[in-house]
């Protein structure tokens, strides 16, 4: 076996987009394959868990895990790979902040199972069967991983060395990240491998934002066609850009859609949602409660809007369930 540094990829609760994003490196992926041995990549290559277990601890240089952590199996794999790797990278918004799966933290585990196995319109499950972690069928025992109460970011389960933001990370930042890592001079542990400045900095519409913006009405993105040149906030659309780390080259904006915050907050912010909330609300053009509420009513789902990718890592982490 070659002495090229060993690299592993793994996915937890994720959509697979992050896997795609690796392939999106296009010809650069060859450069990667030049430089490293991929010794574990369930989605692409046929290695087994035992192969990893067989490796001595720390044998892997870099492991990139994408997806958030919802099941006991994902936890176990995260721990295993952590042990076997020198560097563990939370790859993509889900591993980094909990991602879209962590919006499930607005509901209790019971509520979710109930919906998925009983209430969902497409479900036919008259005797209300629920998944069990272990059951016998003519002598054979099948097991399922435990479905946890909370969706977690990777670093809420194991120590993480670096973070690669994005849903999914763009080829650009992935490539830069790989080069940095291979170059050997590593940034301080815990670094998010993307620019530490908000998206507006690189937004092509930056100059079209007025300096006296205040909101008299918010518009939902699907309502109308928006001016493809003009700052979306200036058009009354909730754009998370000002509260979101740059580095994506404003891909969504270029598609005339607002930033939804997948790169997460800058290092100076504890809670991305609270920050954009503060910024937007401050500029609401009203002084009496009723009018303020009216204007803000077009943000019908603040949690889903401001924490779309980061509820697990937000300050509150999960809905406080006091009544079921």
């Amino acid at each position: 076996m070659s002495d090229k540094p060993k690299v592993a990829f793994y996915w937890c609760a994720s959509c697979g987009g992050c896997e795609e994003s690796i392939v999106d490196l296009a010809e650069d992926i060859l450069m990667v394959l030049e430089a490293v041995d991929i010794i574990f990549w369930p989605v692409a290559l046929d290695f087994k868990k035992k192969d990893v277990e067989a490796l001595p601890d720390g044998a892997i240089l870099v492991t990139m895990i994408n997806g958030s952590i919802r099941t006991s199996e994902q936890e176990a794999m995260a721990r295993l790979l952590r042990r076997k790797s020198k560097i563990l990278i939370a790859y993509g918004a889900c591993a980094y902040l909990g991602g879209i799966p962590s919006l499930a933290n607005q509901f209790s585990r019971e509520r979710i199972l109930q919906y998925v196995y009983e209430e969902a319109p497409s479900v036919q499950n008259s005797d209300r069967t629920r998944p069990v972690t272990r059951f016998q069928d003519d002598g054979r025992t099948a097991t399922l991983p435990e479905f946890r109460n909370v969706t977690r970011s990777l670093d809420q389960v194991v120590d993480v060395d670096y973070y690669l933001p994005g849903c999914a990370p763009t080829p650009k930042i992935l490539k830069e990240a790989l080069l940095t890592l291979l170059s050997g001079n590593l940034p301080p542990r815990g670094t998010v491998l993307a620019p530490d400045i908000a998206l507006c900095d690189e937004c092509p519409r930056k100059d079209t934002k007025p300096t006296d913006l205040c909101f008299t009405e918010f518009k939902r993105p699907h309502w109308t066609q928006f001016d493809p040149e003009k700052c979306l906030l200036a058009q009354g659309v909730v754009c998370m850009g000002p509260a979101t780390r740059g580095g994506c080259e404003a891909l969504c904006i270029k598609g005339n859609m607002p930033c939804t915050g997948c790169f997460g907050p800058t290092s100076r912010v504890k809670d991305q949602g609270a920050k954009i909330l503060s910024s937007l609300a401050s500029s609401v053009n009203a002084k009496d409660e009723a009018e303020i509420d009216r204007i803000l009513s077009n943000i019908p789902d603040p949690v889903g809007t401001f924490y779309r990718y980061g509820l697990a890592r937000s300050l509150l982490r999960r809905k406080v369930v006091t009544k079921e």
Partner: protein, 172 residues
């Protein structure tokens, strides 16, 4: 209240609410001083943090306070039109309206976050607001997020334990 929060009540002997207050320097903080000078008596559950203006209060402060164990957060500013910095209190009000709605979605009751306009001369109001809020939050019971976080994470600690023992067995 459900089982989850009951456990937390159970674990806290004669529980007293913890309330963090952010008071603006010019009106509410001064009013609290006045309440003191006038020797008014009120519940000792509130810890006042001074900021120059209610407009300085970042929603992050509120969430952080809850996350660190506050059962309630009280924001005090100058009456509308009286802000020492012209309009800071209106900014506070706008944030408050949206933040409160977001907190509802996160299962945190309205009574746990309160915004009050108190002028420098309203020592009496400081007293009544604090007493009233302590009473209401008491009625709600503890929010106790740190405890809940621990509670939630017990499930993964369990697995950690399991794995460790498995390894021990593997190594013998």
């Amino acid at each position: 209240m459900n089982k989850e929060s009951n456990d937390i009540v159970a674990t806290s002997r004669e529980w007293e609410p913890r309330i963090v207050a952010f008071f603006c320097n010019w009106c509410t903080y001064t009013a609290a001083d006045l309440a003191g000078v006038s020797r008014m008596k009120y519940a000792p559950n509130v810890r006042i943090i001074r900021v120059m203006c209610s407009g300085r209060i970042d929603p992050q402060f509120v969430l952080d306070a809850f996350a660190k164990g506050a059962d309630g957060v009280l924001i005090g500013g100058c009456h509308p039109g009286d802000c020492h910095y012209i309009e800071g209190n209106y900014k506070a009000l706008r944030r408050f309206r949206l933040l409160r709605r977001m907190l509802q979605d996160m299962g945190i009751e309205d009574a746990r976050l309160r915004l009050e306009w108190v002028s420098a001369s309203e020592g009496e109001k400081v007293k009544s607001v604090i007493n009233d809020m302590v009473e209401k939050v008491k009625a709600l019971g503890p929010l106790g997020l740190p405890a809940r976080f621990k509670e939630w994470d017990r499930e993964i600690e369990a697995l950690e334990e399991e794995i460790r023992t498995e390894e021990v067995e593997a190594n013998v």
